[in-house]
């Protein structure tokens, strides 16, 4: 680990996935700035409570965190100098709704069907992550006091779909709540509403951790089969990236962009009823029938739903049972390793973990060399520049597992140094297209924008010479719909203070 990050300057949500630190609840607020001067005053007050990435000593973590980010029009409203504004990349300037053709946000995912708040001009995003709702509520009250103190300079925007405290459907909520899901015993889980375990192999970059074990399966694959952390500049501006360059997406001056990053916020509704029905129907015609329903579900994502076991190491019920035994007997760090430390080198054809499985698509590891050793300088040459940090939590409750109705899904946040090169590329080329995986125009089963006119199809291959036919999964319906979102800039704490002080000077 050669890189020392300025952890007290970088916002905490960039370096930490708060959920894994016991922050099981979150509230996201969106605001509009109506007066530049008062807006800067507001940012100044919020900055006093912004959580940095400073390491928390054992038991010394706070009970609540606060982070802040801005859209391009937000930075305009804060009256950043034009010479700074013109340095932002065009994807960020355009914002998410105008990028809908690239993202595949069509049909039910079209921006015109998003939550009402996205018909407004959003300037500021504030996140509050807490260990309990009480912590969140207290910090939320504090933020609303600062909004009041801004004297109408800053407005809290309403228009989130969800349920109010009495359980009534609303489309005018002033914030978006999110929470981990709890099992029957009330124990917090890492699951989302389809029942999959989420966020296991989040990327690790230089300076993020001193624990070499955490890099296994989460950094970049080396030629020798080991793992190294990714370059910091893939995720934080002002640092060297995987091309040995400073990210090209940094606005001037350096102090505005150093230790900052870009965030993609997406509210993704999960069609739970359609998913359950589809999985049941497909299990009927899947080899092995209903008994292999969980195997089929694992083929969709690349991991088994119950404990996240990677399918590439557990391609059938027998190997899964063996893996489970080992997993149950293993200590915590061995368990982590079993979940993350694998590659597709012995499964180039995708007979074990399909090329179309969600996890393999968003991070193909070394598999794009297609078994040709030394095809590139490094096995991950086509992957290491396409990684994203995933943050966020599920939202809502599923009251009826046979229905799509209601409000439940994932608040998905992707952090990266270059939205176009990283998040948008993954979404366009690897989620909604598959040429890189030699799978034509097949889409990701779970996240693809399938529709009735072009129902999805993926091929589940089998081992060569097995004598078995491949299995076609057909007529895939739209399982996930976009309900809103935008692109945000997360400045460093130094830059926040300079923005608040109106002293950003690019000359």
């Amino acid at each position: 680990m050669t890189q020392n990050l300025d952890l007290t300057d970088i916002q905490g949500n960039i370096v930490k996935a708060y959920g894994s630190f016991g922050f099981f609840k979150a509230r996201y607020l969106f605001l509009r700035i109506d007066d530049g001067d008062k807006g800067r005053g507001f940012v100044n007050r919020i900055t006093t409570k912004v959580t940095s990435a400073e390491r928390w000593e054992k038991d010394a973590a706070p009970s609540v965190t606060t982070n802040i980010a801005f859209t391009y029009s937000g930075l305009q409203a804060l009256e950043l100098p034009t010479a700074s504004l013109i340095g932002f990349p065009s994807d960020f300037v355009m914002g998410m709704s105008k990028r809908k053709d690239i993202l595949g946000d069509d049909g039910p995912s079209d921006p015109k069907n998003w939550d009402k708040i996205w018909q407004e001009t959003v300037h500021i995003w504030i996140s509050i992550n807490g260990k309990s709702m009480k912590d969140i509520e207290e910090r939320y009250q504090w933020v609303t006091q600062q909004i009041e103190a801004s004297g109408c300079g800053v407005i809290l925007l309403k228009g989130h779909r969800g349920e109010d405290e009495a359980g009534n459907p609303r489309d005018d909520l002033p914030y978006q709540d999110a929470s981990v899901l709890y099992d029957e015993k009330g124990i917090p889980t890492a699951k989302e509403h389809f029942g999959y375990t989420d966020g296991i192999s989040d990327p690790v970059f230089e300076g993020q951790t001193n624990n070499a074990a955490r890099v296994l399966g989460r950094g970049k694959l080396t030629r020798e089969g080991g793992w190294e952390p990714l370059a910091t500049g893939e995720f934080i501006l002002g640092h060297i990236d995987e091309a040995m360059e400073y990210p090209q997406t940094a606005p001037r001056p350096d102090l505005l962009s150093r230790n900052a990053t870009y965030m993609v916020y997406r509210k993704l509704h999960e069609n739970v009823g359609t998913f359950n029905k589809y999985l049941d129907e497909q299990a009927e015609i899947f080899p092995g029938g209903k008994e292999n329903k969980e195997l089929l579900a694992a083929k969709f994502s690349g991991r088994w739903r119950d404990n996240g076991a990677p399918l590439v190491n557990t391609p059938d019920n027998e190997s899964k049972a063996e893996w489970d035994k080992k997993f149950a007997a293993a200590d915590f760090s061995t368990q982590k390793r079993m979940l993350t430390d694998f590659s597709y080198n012995d499964d180039i054809d995708g007979a074990k973990c399909p090329s179309s499985a969600h996890m393999r698509r968003i991070n193909p590891r070394g598999s794009l060399e297609y078994g040709v050793k030394d095809a590139f300088d490094t096995p991950g040459a086509l992957v290491n520049r396409r990684r994203i940090l995933r943050r966020g939590l599920p939202y809502g409750k599923v009251n009826d597992a046979t229905s799509d109705k209601g409000n439940h899904g994932i608040i998905f946040m992707a952090l990266n140094a270059d939205i176009k090169r990283q998040f948008e590329f993954v979404q366009q080329q690897w989620i909604n297209y598959a040429n890189d995986f030699k799978e034509g125009n097949d889409k990701d089963v779970l996240l693809g924008n399938h529709d009735e006119k072009n129902p999805g199809k993926v091929v589940l291959k089998v081992e060569r010479n097995s004598g078995k036919p491949p299995h076609f999964v057909c007529n895939i319906p739209r399982l996930v719909e976009t309900r809103g979102g935008d692109y945000f800039f997360i400045p460093s704490i130094t830059a926040l203070k300079m923005i608040a002080g109106g002293i950003i000077d690019p000359t």
Partner: protein, 234 residues
């Protein structure tokens, strides 16, 4: 001429455009406008010219200046020249080239021989331009000496005079005839649909369905059913 890769031919043509202005517009800009009005996909005139894999037309306005080389680890070129006299320093700079005229550039990858292909361009190229049918002469009209082209043989010899050697081929294509390739793509897509729709059926059912499938898609019949040249959607 080189320009061949198996049965595929690469053609690159640079035709100088007459320097001059008519009604306040240069001949180069008139030609560019005509190129921009060419319809795309199935309506493209190139979809009518047999065996076109991929083709493009554009106007070359000028050559690019190669600029100064960047500094390297040994020495910085511009720092060395700064000790020379002004005229010596200018002589050391990369030469500035200018084209004497603008060029109409046509590049195409196609199946078969050049003469046959150019005959196809002369005979089949046509597109609807606000109710008027335009043939290939409409695009080349303002090129130097093109007024001497009166017939197909004249067109072939004109294009050959403007031809450059081409060595790059369209990677998305084999060297089979366009009809053969379109039929193959059609069959591939139809067959994957067939496989998906009939998985799990008994051998007897599968064979029966496959016979019906073959009767419908007619693999030996290259002309139909198939995709059309220039087709972009199903």
């Amino acid at each position: 001429m080189g320009n061949k890769s198996g049965n595929a031919t690469a053609l690159t043509v640079l035709s100088p455009i007459v320097n001059g202005i008519v009604d306040g517009q240069s001949f180069a800009d008139i030609t560019r406008e005509r190129c921009l009005r060419i319809p795309i996909h199935e309506k493209s005139p190139l979809a009518k010219v047999p065996n076109t894999y991929l083709a493009r037309l554009f106007i070359l306005d000028n050559v690019f200046y190669e600029s100064l080389p960047g500094s390297d680890s040994v020495f910085n070129f511009s720092e060395i020249t700064s000790i020379l006299s002004d005229s010596a320093r200018k002589k050391a700079l990369p030469r500035k080239d200018q084209l004497k005229s603008k060029y109409l550039v046509f590049s195409s990858n196609f199946h078969g021989d050049l003469d046959e292909y150019l005959t196809g361009m002369w005979e089949k190229w046509s597109f609807d331009d606000h109710g008027q049918q335009r043939d290939v002469r409409y695009i080349w009209e303002h090129c130097v000496s093109f007024e001497g082209v009166k017939d197909c043989a004249g067109f072939i010899s004109y294009i050959k005079r403007c031809q450059l050697e081409a060595t790059l081929f369209f990677n998305g294509s084999t060297d089979d005839s366009l009809q053969e390739q379109l039929k193959a793509l059609y069959l591939k897509q139809e067959f994957s649909k067939f496989a998906a729709e009939h998985q799990g059926k008994s051998a007897a059912d599968l064979q029966r369905a496959f016979k019906t499938f073959i009767e419908r898609v007619q693999p030996e019949n290259l002309s139909q059913p198939s995709w059309n040249p220039g087709q972009s959607t199903l």
